[in-house]
Symmetry: C3
Subunit: 355 residues, 3 copies
């Protein structure tokens, strides 16, 4: 068995994962699968987001196929009524509702653009453990939101983000440049937190950065940091400036992108993206231009990870992979995920999921 | 393991099941799957319906891809000829046909609109055990036939029919009314025969019944009985009348619907429907109106049971369901199916069919 | 377990199989699956055909999704460079490329229209074992090439070819004639080489042969031989002449067809066809006419074998088949395939492949 997490590694349940953008959840029932669990999401009349198990305890009908009535869900099969805590409060065929019947409610925390959910041991659901993204809450950054349904495992997405040498190849036609793969890098790893910084200096920026920053020459600096903050959050930060100007006097342009890989099944991932910048804050045309350019690039990742998933899922047997020095952060991250998964399951069992 | 039959319970072979409407079977080869068995159906020149195993014993080619020649099937691969009893009577590549070669022929009984077949132990195939539907054979009732290919297990369909509280929810837009789920009911159960009667008095009938009976007011009576008669037949009877008129003087309107769930695979069911009424016998416009209305409603069941199947088939593990008093008939029925299945297989093995 | 190979029998790896027509492989990357293995094919600048394992040893990305650069493949994910022998010769993120990293290269031999590949023990890859097809290399025969992606197992295709009684049934509408199934035949079997010859004399030829040979009457001779030469090659030869003319004086017309069944998965086969004739060598209209007629007939085989595969793959349990005298060659061939498969795997394990 591999020491490193891969698509067959059990999910890590005791962790916060983004279940939806805040704007997605409202006064209708939203069906979603997260970590292989089927849930139904909605907001109460007072605005609180709710996540319940999407399976009636009576005859297993999906509650998401029922109706939201006030703050209750009424099952679409035999009319059992559940309140926002998941308790069954009415069985229409009888005058008295039995106690102790209900569905599981999952703890949620709404913060900025995200609704975070917890699917593990409820006693461990510490709100303080929700990864911090303070720049998404003030007004010093401007953000845009996007989503991909990624037909691949979330571990592959994290690893993709921690080895940016791929920019020169996967993104050769979009925001990669040939010098990226050979640029010097620095790795920082501490338990549960993995970071790689790559400095491409001097360089010619691709249009997505060159145009809004007006750094159109070949002596720009491009310094990018990928950070694995939790199984549910990866942040890529980048700084651009004119390398011929001295520090302090030169304008610097910063972007910060939340790459949010929420496992759906072992073979698919909800890939939420929030892209933020600290310049041209009010310029909607810059937002539109960058968003268009970035989504082209991220679609290249989705295509590549989809191809990779076909190889990984189709493998009849275990297949060892070779790693290089630049993989140090990714390898440490995957070892960490594997150890956490095994610690939770208390066993060494990998799954061979066909979904 | 559950005490109650569910989608993973082995099929009950020693039972009569409808394999086709009589009108479907003629002088061409009809391929069908019943209880997971592949069969080919046709009629002899004299009009007798025949069901044979759909697999040539030579090289496994489906006989249904061959040709009907007189009362014989000629295999479409190497020309082996089978008579209506399943015996191989000619091997073209040699002058003499070996004895004892053939395919299994399944006992069939044609009665009214149905052709019933037996797929279990041939010694137990008692024609007297074909469920009785005498109203389909005289001229006191008018009937129409319909069919759904249901992407769900047959047990779920039986259970759906035995808990009509679902009318208020699944059929809220068609023939359900809000008072249905709370109406008093009476359960009768004896081994192999389960019945629930629900009296909704007074009520306002939905258009499908109100219009042809002219009971357009809010003081109608609606008394419905669901009866599980065998694993292959469920009959729902209903009586409607003006509750303000005394018994004896008032006109009463009766409908009787055969719901025929023939398992195809563990995840799919042939759902034959024969709807009969004892009024407006000659009025084709009533037939057309009721049929259109009812098919809308039964399509709602098919959609609901399809959703349910996705939950049940996707369940990685056993999932216990809670039952209420109104489930008494359904629970007894499912226990009965489970016991019969286990008695036949002589083992406790459930299947996890992926089809 | 069956004594005869069937769709669940492991592939025989120590054998030459056609991986592509020579014309298919050029200066771009061609992705293909053979014996369940994923490979990438290309030609070097000097024209040598190359087959490499289609999986980067670093992070499992398919090399076929990369780029051909000179005689090297550059991986499309992180830019590792592999030469035509499969050795990794560059890792962009570091100055030195580690030794001993690479992908498997498969021995290839190009001969006439075919590129043959070897996927078993490299030490056993004897070029002399490539089946001989000398008529494809001189100028005494004219040939045409075709291909079907067959949704069925390769064993079924070999067996189809060794029992030509099927011509009267599968090909009743194309090049079969009713007398074919009952014609006398002769079987020759020696280990690894199985042959059946069928003489249909006198007969009326179907248009595909009658028209180009001008043997339009009912006293033609049609002598056909099917030969299993290896798991990867089957040749069907036929001779036609006017049976009323004495030997020596009469013109004889010969065709020879390579039927090349290369296993893709257990449920699919690359079916390469090269059809040759020794008459009307320069007449392109004869080539076009025969090719059109034959492809209609071979498409009937593909349809029949596809139906058969559905039966075989859907079988929940082992199913014994009865064989007749005319199956002697096919049965010996299947026993041979089974023995070789078991000898390679050193075990009796059949597979139940779902692909």
């Amino acid at each position: 068995m591999h020491q490193l997490a891969d698509r067959n590694t059990p999910f890590i349940a005791n962790e916060w994962y983004v279940v939806a953008f805040a704007r997605e959840v409202g006064r209708s029932l939203l069906k979603r699968t997260v970590l292989g669990r089927h849930i139904v999401l909605f907001r109460t009349a007072a605005g609180a987001a709710v996540a319940l198990e999407d399976r009636c305890p009576h005859r297993s009908y999906p509650l998401s196929a029922g109706k939201l009535d006030g703050d209750d869900i009424v099952c679409g099969y035999h009319g059992l009524r559940f309140d926002a805590s998941g308790d069954c409060i009415e069985v229409p065929s009888q005058p008295v509702c039995p106690k102790g019947v209900g569905v599981r409610a999952y703890p949620l925390i709404e913060r900025g653009p995200f609704i975070w959910g917890w699917f593990g041991d409820r006693a461990l659901a510490d709100p303080a453990a929700v990864p911090s993204t303070p720049w998404l809450e003030g007004d010093r950054w401007t953000s845009s939101q996007d989503y991909f349904h990624l037909p691949g495992n979330y571990v592959s997405l994290h690893e993709n983000l921690l080895d940016l040498t791929h920019l020169s190849y996967v993104h050769a036609e979009s925001f990669g440049t040939p010098d990226y793969a050979r640029a010097p890098y620095e790795v920082q790893a501490k338990e549960g937190h993995y970071r790689i910084t790559r400095s491409v200096i001097p360089t010619r920026l691709p249009p997505v950065w060159a145009q809004p920053s007006n750094l159109l020459h070949d002596h720009a600096a491009r310094i990018a940091t990928s950070e694995f903050l939790s199984p549910g959050l990866h942040v890529v930060s980048a700084t651009f400036y004119d390398n011929d100007l001295p520090p302090g006097t030169r304008p610097e342009f910063r972007i910060r992108t939340c790459h949010v890989p929420t496992p759906e099944t072992h073979g698919s991932t909800h890939y939420f993206i929030v892209h933020s910048r600290d310049f041209a804050l009010e310029d909607a045309s810059v937002t539109a231009f960058m968003r268009e350019q970035l989504m082209l690039a991220f679609a290249e990742d989705v295509a590549a990870l989809s191809r990779l998933e076909q190889v990984l899922a189709g493998g009849a047997e275990e297949h060892y992979e070779i790693s290089f020095a630049s993989d140090a952060a990714a390898v440490a991250m995957r070892r960490h995920l594997k150890e956490r998964a095994l610690a939770e399951t208390g066993a060494a069992a990998d799954v061979r999921a066909d979904s």
